[in-house]
């Protein structure tokens, strides 16, 4: 599906049980850069998937190998997961049903690294969207910044807000879509105080983890996000919207 177009290079890749959209706007970017990203994403899937018996994560979980046998990327991911658990009062958790499951971090991290790969390859103006988690870099055109729509959690195929920026990461956690069931690791319950929580920042790996943790927190999420200085948009199940003070509503044209 890779083709050149007046707007650059674009590729849609099914991986990790979801879909990645890679949108490169750098003029005359090398298509090999996108191939490299696709290769990377599938390597991540093979290495980290909890659905594959042969993945390093699966083998590590059943003690078939030790951490010393794992690739440096696995060690890095697990270290970051541990830091994020500390950072989020345990609400970010890389275990699921008693098994090792860092997939809540892996996708965002894979997107962030994919973005870095594109920049290194000379394709610095791009956007990588993995299952609704977004890392934008550079700009889509010389005269404007990236526009990231935030999906309305209650009304399919509509957006509830738009975020604009150049180097921009946007992650949304919620109940609207299947594929990830967030559980409060402290109670085992599924949070229902918000339909979705969107966190905006610069780097998607951390932003995604914070969105997941905040969603698991339930009612405490707005206060926690605010205390951390994070920009977030929170949508209640009745459709009402909260935002943190740093997520200012901006008048366009001003």
């Amino acid at each position: 599906m890779r083709t050149a177009s007046p707007t650059g290079l674009r590729r849609v890749e099914h991986c990790m049980g979801t879909v990645f959209s890679i949108d490169v706007r750098t003029p005359d970017a090398d298509p090999a850069a996108i191939d490299e990203v696709v290769t990377w994403l599938h390597w991540v899937d093979r290495t980290f998937s909890t659905y594959r018996e042969t993945s390093e994560i699966s083998r590590l979980d059943r003690n078939a190998i030790s951490l010393d046998d794992c690739s440096p990327d696995v060690v890095e991911v697990l270290r970051r997961c541990a830091e994020l658990a500390d950072d989020t009062e345990g609400y970010f958790d890389c275990h699921n049903d008693g098994r090792l499951d860092p997939s809540g971090y892996v996708k965002g991290w894979a997107i962030e690294r994919a973005s870095d790969l594109l920049t290194t390859a000379g394709a610095g103006d791009h956007c990588v969207n993995g299952g609704g988690d977004v890392q934008c870099a550079g700009a889509p055109a010389p005269d404007r910044s990236w526009h990231v729509g935030i999906a309305h959690p209650l009304r399919p195929a509509t957006t509830i807000a738009t975020v604009e920026g150049r180097d921009l990461a946007v992650a949304t956690s919620g109940t609207a879509e299947r594929g990830r069931h967030i559980v409060d690791p402290h109670t085992g319950e599924r949070p229902d105080r918000f339909a979705s929580i969107t966190v905006v920042g610069r780097r998607i790996a951390g932003v995604d983890a914070y969105a997941t943790a905040a969603f698991a927190m339930g009612e405490r999420a707005p206060a926690w996000l605010t205390a951390r200085g994070l920009s977030a948009l929170l949508v209640r199940p009745d459709g009402s919207v909260l935002r943190t003070p740093s997520a200012g509503v901006v008048n366009s044209g001003s």
Binding site: M1, S5, T7, V12, G17, T18, V19, S21, K107, C127, G131, G132, D133, V134, P140, D143, R144, S145, W146, H147, V148, G149, I150, A151, R155, P156, A157, T158, T159, I160, A161, T162, V163, E164, G165, L168, V170, S173, G174, T175, E177, R178, G179, R180, T198, S231, G239, S240, V241, R243, T244, S246, A247, G248, V249, V250, N251, S252, G253, S254
Partner: protein, 162 residues
Amino acid sequence: MKRVLFAVLGTALGLVALLSFKTQGKPLATPPGGLPSAAVSAPASTGGQSSTSTATSAPPNPSTSSASPTTKKYVGSAVQTRYGIVQVQVVASSSHIASVSFVQLTAFDGRSQEINSAAAPILLQETIDAQSAHIDTVSGATYTTDGYEQSLQSALDQAGIK
């Protein structure tokens, strides 16, 4: 070209309602205390007429307006949702997306009224380029492969992949 047109078409019982709201040029007040207000409501249609809200900004480059002869329309597959059948439609020229609209075919009841009075999009932080308004990508709660096929992102990708 630089305007974004979000349209929700509700069709049933002979009634057609067309709502469009822009993501730019619409001063959104920042209420003290932080709850964003729902600033734009739908022009309610009456009796089979369709109505469209005013698009106030002139395209900065007329040659690439959505009326360009090179404009193409991409329509996603219809998806049954709890709000009825939803279909995503993207109109794009050779170089940009002119509009994204949502064709909805559903019973004209309280629910579709609610959809038609949808809250205005909220512009969050970051610098705003007054010329810009279209959406490049969409952030949403993690979707599966099947969920992607029904998503706005899928429609944007179709429009971007010639």
